[in-house]
Amino acid sequence: MSAIVKHPFLQRLLRVPPAYYVFAILLITLWIARPHMLNANIMGIFIRQVAPLGVLVLAQLLVMRVKSIDLSGGGIILLVNYFISSGIFPGASMPFFIGLSLATGTAIGLFNGWMIGKRRVSAVIVTLAVSIILVGFVQYLSSGKPPGDVPSYLNDIYNIKWGPAPVPVLFWFALTVVMALFLSKTVFGRYVTSVGENPEAAHFSGVPVERTVILAHTLAGFIAAVAALVQTASIAVGSVRVGLDLPILAVAATILGGVVFGRGEGGVWGPFFGVLSFALLFVVMTTFGIDDPGKLIAQGLIILLAAIFYGIRTSRSN
């Protein structure tokens, strides 16, 4: 067993983030079972369903690469959705909403970063607590004014297509490209890699560790707000529970994409395909009429198998 695992070619294969394999397998499954669905228009719509998750994953992978985690995305999405749908800002314009959302997300991210980077509080707990507070805050607000409609122009933007490709998908893709360039071409990206590998050594080699962590979280907050805007645009109504399961899915997609706390082998595209895999997984299971319990079991097993496949590579074969 260990001899096979150590073969260089297999080693190279095993180094590929599991997301790529899962995606390929699901694509083949769909191609065999429902070839008519493999057309650009249909795929575009399926991928559009996960665009909010895809954007949020960019935030998650950024903080996971500095050995942190951000679970506050759910709260940010809910709050932004509430801002836009509740009518507490009557007659506000689109730039106002976008500005307000991004500012809110950034401020929350900055707070997370400050608590984690400067005060060195557990990231799981801080961001979880922030999420709970935000959810609680929205509950409090909605006792005075429950959410209502989302302005129709947001939904209109969401439905625009550019050729076969829906605008939200293009937007997500563009954002991913920007993030990939940002991480690979800037000094900040190098800082992120360094802090993720060894914060102590990073400090000694002149990397501003605290600032890197704070900045990563601030950016993550900003991106979460962008995800919130995409999510809000995707639905026509306000809700008291939207997007709350996205952060944990984002963590799963990120890990599936080969980014583990501190280690970033999958880069930005691994998690990208992690999200695509989730999109296809949902489609394949709905297509095969797998009912809810079956869906849960299948989803669990697929994540697990993918992770096992990936894990064997690093397993201590010596």
Binding site: K67, G117, V130, I132, D292, I308, T314, S315
Partner: protein, 301 residues
């Protein structure tokens, strides 16, 4: 120590503020309300100490209640529940230690799988739980409500495992290595690390199943959703109690106090009639405060 101070502060405030808080009925209520979280959090602590996490405990709790509410005698279902818990713990542990899967992913996947099985077994809540379970949770012994005995027994067992045995020391050793980025350190001392991590996951699952048994006795039925999000509460309690999520540092008393703080908070807000619309935000704020004041050396999880 901060959590302890907070627990005492909340208690004093409630004692002064309301007539009911210090009543024996409410105190026993409080113990019973806190017990599932105390048990689950203690279990969770085993894996947190080795630098892991177990997100599958919530579903396992639901699953346990579902099994107990099957139409079968208690002497079949109760051992079955623990047998299954051991299996879940073993498979979590094996996947994590032997197949090198990240604990969050391994246990998240397990959470989905168990939830799915539970939904098949019991799509909606219902069924009847064996009398012995109901009695052992709701009854009294020598005039003292049963949950008190549960608490004492669980804490004693956990203390023995964590602080009174080689096993516990080894868990701390393994976690210390993991937290330091030298996961092999304990192994090089001759500590069988993979076996011990495996056992930590088994312990975590068994405590979760125990919490499930307690809950089944309390809601006297099986329910596919009863454990939903319990894992987050348990992790929160562990962290509030001062255990480092990166591993290696923590104490049992801290975890128990952490769980009590959370329970006190719910009970207190109910007794002081805090609007339900704001309770969630207060809970989160307090969590932030407690943890925000505990700074550490290391940045991260």
């Amino acid at each position: 120590m901060l959590p302890l101070l907070i627990a005492i502060a909340i208690s004093i405030y409630l004692g002064l503020r309301t007539d009911q808080f210090l009543g024996s009925e409410n105190l026993f209520n409080l113990i019973a309300q806190a017990m599932p979280l105390v048990i689950t959090a203690i279990g969770q602590m085993f894996v947190v100490v080795v630098g892991g996490l177990d997100l599958s405990v919530g579903s396992l709790i639901s699953f346990t209640t579902a099994i107990l509410a099957l139409d079968a005698p208690g002497y079949v279902t109760i051992p079955a529940v623990f047998l299954f818990a051991v299996l879940v713990g073993l498979s979590n542990g094996l996947v994590i230690t032997r197949l090198n899967v990240h604990p969050i992913i391994a246990t998240l996947a397990m959470q989905y799988v168990i939830l799915g099985i539970t939904r098949i077994l019991r799509p909606v809540s219902g069924g009847t739980v064996p009398d012995i379970v109901i009695q052992s949770v709701g009854g009294t012994f020598l005039g003292v409500p049963m949950p008190v005995f549960w608490g004492v027994a669980v804490v004693l067992v956990a203390w023995k495992l964590l602080h009174g045995s080689r096993f516990g020391l080894h868990l701390f050793a393994i976690g210390g290595g993991v937290a330091n980025g030298t996961p092999d350190a304990a192994r090089n001392f001759g500590v069988p690390d993979r076996r011990n991590i495996l056992l930590a996951y088994v312990a975590c699952s068994c405590f979760a199943a125990l919490a499930g048994v307690f809950l089944a006795g309390r809601i006297v039925s099986g329910d596919p959703n009863v454990g939903l999000l319990f894992e987050l509460d348990a992790i929160t309690a562990v962290a509030v109690g001062g255990t480092q999520l990166s591993g290696g540092i923590g104490s049992l008393q801290g975890t128990v106090i952490g769980a009590l703080v959370l329970a006190l908070l719910s009970n207190g807000m109910n007794l002081t009639n805090v609007s339900p619309f704001i309770q969630t935000a207060i809970k989160g704020g307090l969590l932030l405060l407690v943890v925000g004041l505990q700074t550490r050396k290391k940045i991260g999880l």
